[in-house]
Subunit: 236 residues, 2 copies
């Protein structure tokens, strides 16, 4: 493993992506050029090029004369998200079922094994990343350059939303996760059978499940704790 600048650049890129997807860098966080260039042994020039690229892909917000910032997730985001996601993902899976190659299907099966493994023994970040990888592969399968920009943008926030998703706190949520995994298996089967209709149908079901899971967070069960013993911690 040589340590040339090129590899450090891709290292940096990967590190930033993963950090953002897993909420290690929270939405709205300012990125310090000096610190990062120091950390990865890169000068600011290539670093800023990476920033620009990640900006274009939707990971970062760039503002002139101000530091790059991890892209925000506002309250309107969630609504826009569930408006666009089913349509885009439905189209992607339909095309995946139409166009997937055998090699791609093998990759997808491998990714699904990794996902299952993460569900069993991984952290929330591991699960979110494994799920992200699975869906990225379906995007590649669709092979439509006009669909992918939006699809990949969706995947970013899907992972970030999923970071809470993949930290199940109730039996119902754990159950939903198992269901998501089952759906992944069904998606693979539909793609392998070139069954476009089934794939599109599964896309919709997969998003409905996601939405249900989100709602379990937005509207949690009422607390059942005696007064004075509330688990709320002190204000930060």
């Amino acid at each position: 493993m040589k340590d040339d600048p090129k590899s450090r650049k891709t290292d940096l890129m990967e590190h930033l992506k993963v950090s953002i997807l897993t909420l290690r860098f929270q939405p709205g966080t300012d990125l310090d050029e000096a610190l990062l260039s120091d950390e990865f042994g890169l000068s600011r020039t290539p670093l800023r090029e990476v920033f620009r690229q990640l900006g274009g892909e939707g990971y970062l917000d760039l503002r002139t004369n101000r530091s790059a910032r991890v892209s925000e997730m506002s309250h309107t985001t969630l609504r826009d998200f569930f408006l666009a996601a089913p349509m885009i993902y439905g189209a992607v899976l339909r095309l995946a079922a139409r166009n997937a190659t055998l090699a791609q299907i093998e990759d997808l099966k491998t990714a699904q094994l990794a996902f299952k493994s993460a569900l069993r023994s991984g952290s929330a970040a591991d699960r979110a990343l494994a799920n992200n990888r699975f869906h990225e592969l379906t995007g590649e399968m669709s092979g439509n350059v006009y669909l992918l920009p939006s699809f990949n943008r969706l995947l970013i926030d899907h992972a970030r939303i999923g970071m809470t998703f993949y930290r199940p706190q109730t039996a119902k949520m754990t159950e939903n996760l198992a269901e998501a995994s089952t759906q992944h298996d069904a998606i693979i089967a539909a793609i392998e059978a070139n069954d476009e209709a089934a794939a599109a149908q599964l896309a919709e079901e997969h998003w409905n499940l996601s939405r249900d899971q989100i709602e379990l967070f937005v509207m949690p069960d009422a607390l059942d704790v005696p007064l004075g013993l509330s688990p709320l911690s002190k204000p930060a």
Copy 2:
């Protein structure tokens, strides 16, 4: 009009975009960093940042250790294009009808006036750019960050395909252009009336018209010229 680096950078960006959209830079063209930095009075550092950004937006293809290249339009592109465009544009117009502000509608009307003016007296490039502007505005109106990446990617190739589109060679094609303008008016009306269904319907019709126009190019009328006087130019 001050001439600071910041404005030169946006100048360069705008110049590249317009040049690509109007086919002044053909798909696949290599861009010369030294030449462009000389031309715009910018060093290569900010120039390369612009390249990265345009790469992210789909104007350029970037390859390591090779020059940046105007993004290609292959034979598969057209098929992918007409597969994705109606769906995305339908969703965009539906949301535009739902969310457009009065100020945005005014902007759209202004853009449509410019489009009509370009149809009357402009060049093919003027027409393609005016049309591009019109649709960009509908994208802004939709206000959905997850839809816009694909939508803007579509607009790039829409303009490039349209450069032939907007150089009408038969009466039928001129007629189609007038029809496109009429559809723009109808789109404005639907948005102004918050009529989502009508807007979505118009999106589909607008793309059908585009597809018809393309077909007039792909399958031109049989030549009616005596042998030996064929207008075909010599092979390049």
